[in-house]
C-alpha cells in the first residue's frame, strides 16, 4: 500500500509505537551446528532459530505469537527473558537497553520486571519445596528489605488472587492438579509485580475446562495489574481469544503481524491462511474448505532459498523461490512477508463459518 519502497516495518514501529513496553529489533539467535572430527570441531552451519524478528509490546496489551513446533517461538521467549545470548539485534524495555547488562544490579532490575510462565506445570515447580517457598523465592532475591512475615503475607494474598486458598501455601506441588499448578506458576511470576509476563504455551498441557479458567484468570490479572503479555501458543482459537496483536512465525521469521481481528479474519499471508484452515472447528455442520499443507516444516539448518514458506505454499511462483520477501504493509497495520499477499480474504466465509446467503438458499432448495 505504501508507495515508498524504503518504508519498512521498523520505520512503522518507530512511528506508531504508543508507549511500547518491550521493543524487539532485528533479533537474531543462531545456534552453531558443529561437526566433530578426531581433534577438532568445526562449525558447518547454523540453526537459524530466530532470524531477524522485530515487534513491540505496548503496556497492558497482549501479543500472541503463533507457529508450529520448531519455528523458534520458545527460543524467542527465552532470548527475551535473557536466558539465551543472541547474535545481533537489540532489545529495549522502555528506555533500558537489555541486550547487555553492565552490572548485576541492572540485571536484577530487569528480571524484576519481566517474568515467565512455562508450559509444563509438572516440570516447572520444584517437587521438594513447599508452595510457600516456591512463590516466595523471587522475594528472597529481589526484596531483601522485607521481613519474613511480610513476605508470607504477600504470598497468601497472591494465592487468593490467583484463585487458591491460604492453606495451599503449606503443601507440595504434587498435591495439586495441573490447573492449580499453573496457578502457582502464575503466582510465582506475579509476586514481584512485573510489567511483562512471557507465557510459553501456558494452557496447552491442560484440559479444556481448566484451560478456560486459566485464560479467564490471565485476563482478570491483566486488567487488575495492567500487565503486558507475550502469549505463545499453537492453538489459534486460544490466541484469538486472548491477544490484541498477533504475530505468525515460521522458521524463525515473522510472516504476518497485525491486530488480532484483522489477521485472523482477513489474513494476507498464505501461511496464515493455511494455518487457519487447518483448525478443526467444533461444529459438525460445517463442511470446510481446507488448504492442507503438503510436507513438513523444513529443517532450519538448510533453509530453502527465497521465501522460507515457498516449498509448501499454494501460491508460490518463480520469484518466491529466488527472493526472500520482507514485511510489507498490506493494509493499514497489517504487515505480511509475501510477494503475493491475499487481498480481501474472508476466513469465515472460506472455512464455512459464516454462511453465504447463496449457499443456504441452495441448501434449502435441495432439502425441499
Amino acid at each position: 500500500m505504501s508507495g515508498d519502497q524504503e518504508y519498512t516495518y521498523l520505520d512503522y514501529l518507530e512511528e506508531h509505537s504508543e508507549e511500547p513496553l518491550l521493543r524487539v529489533r532485528e533479533l537474531k539467535k543462531w545456534y552453531p551446528v558443529t561437526e566433530n572430527t578426531v581433534l577438532f570441531s568445526r562449525v558447518i552451519g547454523h540453526v537459524k532459530a530466530v532470524d531477524g524478528v522485530s515487534f513491540d509490546i505496548p503496556k497492558g496489551k497482549t501479543l500472541g505469537l503463533v507457529g508450529e513446533s520448531g519455528c523458534g517461538k520458545s527460543t524467542l521467549a527465552r532470548t527475551i527473558v535473557r536466558l539465551e545470548k543472541f547474535q545481533s539485534g537489540s532489545l529495549y524495555l522502555e528506555d533500558q537497553d537489555i541486550s547487555s547488562f553492565s552490572s548485576r544490579k541492572e540485571e536484577l532490575a530487569f528480571r524484576k520486571r519481566v517474568q515467565m510462565v512455562f508450559q509444563d506445570p509438572y516440570a516447572s515447580l520444584n517437587p521438594r519445596r513447599l508452595v510457600l517457598d516456591i512463590i516466595k523465592e523471587p522475594l528472597d532475591i529481589h526484596r531483601k528489605d522485607l521481613s519474613r512475615e511480610e513476605k508470607r503475607k504477600m504470598v497468601i494474598e497472591l494465592l487468593r488472587t490467583v484463585g487458591l486458598e491460604a492453606y495451599h501455601a503449606l503443601r507440595y506441588p504434587h498435591e495439586f492438579s495441573g490447573g492449580q499448578r499453573q496457578r502457582i506458576g502464575i503466582a510465582r511470576a506475579l509476586i514481584l509485580q512485573p510489567d511483562l509476563i512471557i507465557l510459553d504455551e501456558p494452557v496447552s498441557a491442560l484440559d479444556v475446562s481448566v484451560q478456560a479458567s486459566i485464560l479467564n484468570l490471565l485476563q482478570d490479572l491483566q486488567e487488575q495489574f495492567g500487565l503486558a503479555y507475550l502469549f505463545i501458543a499453537h492453538d489459534l482459537s486460544v490466541v484469538k481469544h486472548i491477544s490484541d496483536m498477533v504475530a505468525i512465525m515460521y522458521l524463525g521469521k515473522i510472516m504476518e503481524i497485525g491486530p488480532t481481528e484483522e489477521v485472523f479474519n482477513h489474513p494476507t499471508h498464505p501461511y496464515t491462511v493455511s494455518l487457519l484452515s487447518a483448525i478443526p472447528i467444533p461444529d459438525p455442520d460445517i463442511e470446510k474448505a481446507r488448504i492442507i499443507l503438503q510436507g513438513d516444516v523444513p529443517s532450519p539448518i538448510n533453509l530453502p532459498p527465497g521465501c522460507r514458506f515457498s516449498p509448501r505454499c499454494y501460491k508460490a511462483q518463480d520469484i518466491c523461490f529466488k527472493e526472500e520477501p520482507e514485511l510489507k504493509e498490506v493494509r493499514p497495520g497489517v504487515w505480511s512477508a509475501c510477494h503475493f499477499p491475499e487481498e480481501g480474504f474472508e476466513v469465515l466465509k472460506f472455512i464455512g463459518l459464516e454462511k453465504d446467503t447463496t449457499k443456504t438458499k441452495t441448501k434449502k432448495k435441495a432439502k425441499s
Binding site: 478456560a212 479467564n216 472447528i281
Partner: protein, 341 residues
C-alpha cells in the same frame, strides 16, 4: 451409516479397576457403548475419565495392576473377555488395531521400519518376507509416505512426527482390521500436520469401511471426523448420540459445559464459561452422578446413580434432570443463581 444388524463392537457394563497402593481406582464404572460396522465413532472426555482404559480393556492390554472386574466386550458377537491369551493375540492386529498418541514411543528406535512392519504382516497373513515387504510398501504409499520403497529401510528417527504417525497408521491397517482404535492420534502434532493425518484417517476409514474408535479431547477433531460420539466422565458414559446432536442439542450438563468452555473462533471476546472444581479422583469418586459436585443443576437426587435414558432414538443420557434442563437454563440466565445444592 446406521447398521440395522448387530454392532461391530458392543461394550456392556464394563468395570475395570486398578489396584494401587493408595487404594482401588474405579477407572471404568459400568461403561456401555457400541460401534457399528464401518462407523467412525468419537470417544470424548477430559484426562482421567477412562477413555484410554476403555481401549486397553477392549484389547486386554491393561497394565499389570489393572483388572477387568465384570462386563462384556462383544466383537462381532464374540465375547472377547472369554478369550484366552492365544485367541486374543489373533484378534489384536488382525481384527482390532490400535494407534497411540506418541508416535516416537510406539516405534522401536533401533529397528528399521521394514522390520517393524513385516513381522506382523508375515505372522498374520502367512506370507514370506518379500511379499510382506511388498504389502508394507503399498500401505506406506497409501498413507502418503514419499519414496516408500527406499524409505522403508530407514529408522524411526529419520522421520518427522507426522510421518511417524503415518507409519503407525500404515502398520495398523496392513492387516485390514475391521476396527481401528486411535488413542489421541494427533495430540502430539502441529495443526497443519494434524490436518494431514486426520485427512488420511478419514480417507482410509471410508476406503476400507473401517470401524473407527477415535479417542480424543479435541472437540473440533471429533466434529470433523466422526458420525457418533460417546462422552465420558469419571469412568462412565454420560451421553451418547450422533455427532450433530451432541454439538447442537446436548442434554447432559457436562456435555454442555464442555462445549461452552472452548474458546470459539467466531465468537467475540469475553469470559469463557468454566466448570468449577476438578475432574474427580477415581479412588474415592463422588457418590451417585459423578458430575454432581461440579454441576450447577445438582439436587439431592443426584447423589444416587442416574439411569441411562434414551430420549430419542440413539440419544442416551445419564442424568436425573435431562428433561428439566432447558427450563432451568433459561431461569438460570435470568436470575443468576436460582438454587444451590
Amino acid at each position: 451409516m446406521a447398521q440395522s444388524g448387530k454392532p461391530l463392537l458392543d461394550v456392556r457394563n464394563l468395570y475395570t479397576y486398578f489396584f494401587t497402593e493408595s487404594g482401588i481406582v474405579q477407572a471404568l464404572d459400568g461403561v456401555s457403548f457400541d460401534i457399528n460396522v464401518g462407523e467412525p465413532v468419537g470417544i470424548v472426555g477430559e484426562s482421567g475419565c477412562g477413555k484410554s482404559v476403555t481401549a486397553q480393556s477392549i484389547l486386554q492390554i491393561l497394565p499389570r495392576n489393572g483388572k477387568i472386574i465384570s462386563g462384556e466386550v462383544r466383537f462381532k458377537g464374540y465375547d472377547l473377555l472369554k478369550f484366552n491369551e492365544k485367541q486374543m493375540n489373533k484378534v489384536r492386529g488382525k481384527y482390532i488395531s490400535m494407534i497411540f498418541q506418541d508416535p516416537m514411543t510406539s516405534l522401536n528406535p533401533v529397528m528399521r521400519i521394514r522390520d517393524q512392519m513385516i513381522d506382523v504382516i508375515s505372522l498374520h497373513r502367512g506370507v514370506d518376507e518379500f511379499e510382506a515387504t511388498e504389502i508394507a510398501i503399498k500401505m506406506l504409499e497409501a498413507v502418503g509416505i514419499p519414496e516408500a520403497e527406499s524409505r522403508i529401510y530407514n529408522y524411526p528417527h529419520e522421520f518427522s512426527g507426522g510421518m511417524r504417525q503415518r507409519i503407525l497408521i500404515a502398520r495398523a491397517l496392513a492387516l485390514r482390521p475391521e476396527l481401528l482404535i486411535a488413542d489421541e492420534p494427533t495430540t502430539a502434532l502441529d495443526v497443519t500436520i494434524q490436518a494431514q493425518v486426520l485427512d488420511i484417517i478419514r480417507n482410509l476409514q471410508q476406503k476400507y469401511n473401517l470401524g473407527l474408535m477415535l479417542i480424543t479431547h479435541n472437540l473440533g477433531v471429533v466434529a470433523e471426523t466422526t458420525k457418533r460420539v460417546h462422552v465420558f466422565y469419571g469412568g462412565r458414559v454420560v451421553e451418547s448420540a450422533d455427532t450433530r446432536t451432541i454439538f447442537k442439542k446436548p442434554h447432559h450438563p457436562y456435555t454442555r459445559a464442555l462445549l461452552e468452555s472452548i474458546p470459539s473462533f467466531i465468537q467475540q471476546k469475553g469470559r469463557l464459561a468454566t466448570i468449577p472444581g476438578v475432574v474427580p479422583r477415581l479412588i474415592n469418586p463422588p457418590k451417585g452422578c459423578r458430575f454432581h459436585p461440579r454441576c450447577k443443576y445438582a439436587t439431592e437426587i443426584c447423589k444416587t446413580r442416574p439411569p441411562v435414558v434414551e430420549i430419542e432414538k440413539g440419544h442416551l443420557v445419564a442424568c436425573h434432570h435431562y428433561d428439566k434442563l432447558e427450563q432451568w437454563e433459561n431461569a438460570y440466565e435470568k436470575y443468576e443463581k436460582p438454587h444451590k445444592s
